[in-house]
């Protein structure tokens, strides 16, 4: 009986559809599983073994050393928190991912509110707002690095010295603390357009009668914003946070492959 129903299933429309579905998804699934999911779990295996960069071609012969790598990382002076003067990579990563994400979302929210108004040339301005996100990371990084050049010929130094905020040229990217702040600002500069697009799509999906009804009921502009505009975006904010908060700690894990 089972055999007959199996043959029926194989030749039925439903069965054919399932096989078609799998054969359509298979190439994508193979590439993603083989090159992302498997290496991700493989990295856990490596983290318990003594793998040097030179032995990468025959990793499977590596010796099992238990938690040795983890001990090394935790005791590493560059990783450990060593007082307020020297945070170490662990604390820096957490602070970095949290503040950079917050700033990105806030800037994206402001940008999307600006673009949610009606004005001439809105399409063009929206396109320009997306430039930081689409431009190649290598080129924008080098431009920013050069704008922040420590010599007096650096643009930021020149401007700040001209308006009298600083006396001497500053080495922005080699000053502890300031460098981290600038990297956070750069991150927000680069990724706010993405947050902006997501928020904007939701803002434009809000039914305008919702605002009108609230206005009739006597709600002020601020009430409209906190009670309608923000709640619509809450889950987006959460999503952005969780994905970025997960990125931070996982970057630390890479240091465990000694």
């Amino acid at each position: 009986m089972a055999g007959i129903s199996f043959i029926k299933y194989r030749t039925s429309l439903r069965g054919r559809e399932v096989r078609l579905a799998w054969s359509l998804v298979l190439p994508t699934a193979l590439i993603v599983f083989g090159l992302v999911i498997f290496p991700a779990f493989f990295s856990i295996w490596i983290s318990f073994h003594d793998v040097g960069l030179t032995e990468l071609s025959n990793v499977f012969k590596a010796e099992f050393i238990g938690l040795e790598n983890y001990k090394n990382v935790i005791n590493d002076f560059a990783f450990k928190f060593q007082g307020l003067q020297n945070w170490g990579a662990a604390v820096t990563s957490i602070i970095y991912s949290f503040t950079a994400t917050t700033l990105t979302v806030v800037v994206g929210l402001i940008a999307s509110l600006l673009l949610n108004q009606n004005f001439k040339g809105r399409g063009l301005v929206r396109a320009v707002f997306l430039f930081p996100y689409i431009a190649p990371i290598v080129s924008v990084t080098f431009v920013w690095r050069w704008i922040l050049d420590p010599r007096p010929s650096g643009v930021v130094n020149d401007i700040l010295m001209n308006i009298g905020l600083i006396e001497m040229p500053m080495a922005y990217l080699s000053t502890r603390g300031l460098a981290l702040l600038l990297v956070i600002i750069f991150e927000a500069w680069r990724y706010f357009p993405f947050a902006m697009l997501m928020i904007l799509a939701r803002l434009q999906a809000i039914d305008s009668t919702l605002y009108e009804a609230a206005e009739v009921d006597g709600a002020g502009r601020r009430a409209l914003f906190t009670n309608i505009t923000l709640p619509v975006n809450y889950d987006m904010f959460l999503g952005r946070f969780s994905s970025c908060a997960l990125c931070g700690p996982s970057i630390n894990l890479t240091t465990s492959f000694s």
Binding site: L35, V138, V143, S250
Partner: protein, 311 residues
């Protein structure tokens, strides 16, 4: 941005007698002033780095190395570009080769990604099969792993396979293309599946009843309706492959195979710093992306948000 037209005020009849300043004084209110200020802040912050990149690429070595920054180059000086492209230049960089390498990687990545993700997305959006949700969620798990985390196990794994099957992992462009596919396919699949869901299923069912096979339905009905999404997926994947640095940096050793980002990094780390050459190379790498984006901007933002806002 003259927004006067958007607000037909009560003063339109007498506006003929008003000067520009009076117009401005009437138009401006606190919210408008603040939003104009914010726009100025955003536009300068966004556009200045790009202006600096393009203008610097036309500066001479003296303008670059001076004590004061030069905000507007004296003339359209092509020294930096000559260094990139002119073989007779003493510090010729052979940048044309790097452009070709980037094209050779980005174009196949984008074409293959569109084909594979179309097939996968159609199955996810239209067909019912067991394990679909699990499959979709695990494909999206890629977001949780940054590239830095994956590169060591990926390299170890590929070199294992490489020694068994007899191919080189380093300096092998197809390998690089496959790793880019792994990075772009999940998002491409997600974007396309969301778009396919917005196409009414009845149209396809009509096709099926008329005797088309599933593949014919995809080819003749679904794809023509999904052109905006296909365009945005192909730009998106092209952009990722064109801009990618980390994997190319690890997987490529041969100077003749360097893609543009790696080449720019090499020029930047040259013992004699020549920022104008770096800026010229960056301009060349950025320009096609920005032009392509401006031409197809409407599709791209639509596609990106279709991927981000789950229905």
């Amino acid at each position: 941005m003259s927004s006067t037209t958007s607000t037909p005020g009560p003063h339109t009849s007498s506006s003929r007698n008003l000067t520009f300043i009076e117009h401005l004084a009437r138009w401006i209110t606190w919210p408008r002033f603040i939003s104009a200020l914010a726009f100025t802040f955003f536009l300068t912050g966004i556009l200045f780095p790009f202006y600096w990149m393009i203008s610097s690429s036309f500066k001479t070595y003296a303008e670059i190395g001076g004590r004061q920054p030069v905000y507007i180059p004296g003339s359209l000086n092509l020294d930096a570009y000559r260094e990139l492209f002119d073989p007779s230049n003493p510090s010729f960089q052979n940048f044309g080769q790097s452009i070709m390498n980037s094209v050779k990687i980005a174009v196949p990545t984008s074409i293959i990604a569109v084909i594979l993700s179309t097939l996968g997305a159609y199955a996810v959006a239209r067909l019912r099969f067991r394990g679909k949700e699990f499959l979709l969620n695990s494909i999206l798990m890629i977001y949780l792993f940054p590239g830095v985390l994956l590169i060591i196990p990926l390299f170890a794994m590929l070199s294992q396979i490489g020694t068994r099957l007899g191919f080189e992992v380093q300096d092998n462009l197809p390998i690089l293309i496959i790793t880019y596919l792994a990075q772009t396919l999940p998002v491409a699949l997600y974007m396309l599946a969301n778009y396919f869901r917005t196409i009414p299923e009845e149209i396809e069912q009509a096709g099926l009843i008329d005797g088309c096979s599933r593949m014919e339905v995809i080819w003749r009905i679904t794809l023509p309706l999904a052109i905006p999404a296909l365009v945005s997926v192909s730009i998106y994947t092209f952009m990722i492959a064109w801009n990618e640095f980390l994997y190319a940096f690890i997987f490529l050793n041969d100077h003749n195979l360097f893609t543009m980002p790696i080449k720019i990094n090499t020029i930047f780390n040259d013992p004699s710093p020549r920022p104008h050459v770096v800026m010229a190379a960056s301009t060349i790498m950025t320009l096609p992306i920005v032009v392509m984006f401006l031409a197809l901007e409407k599709f791209l933002s639509e596609g990106l948000t279709a991927g981000g806002v789950k229905g």
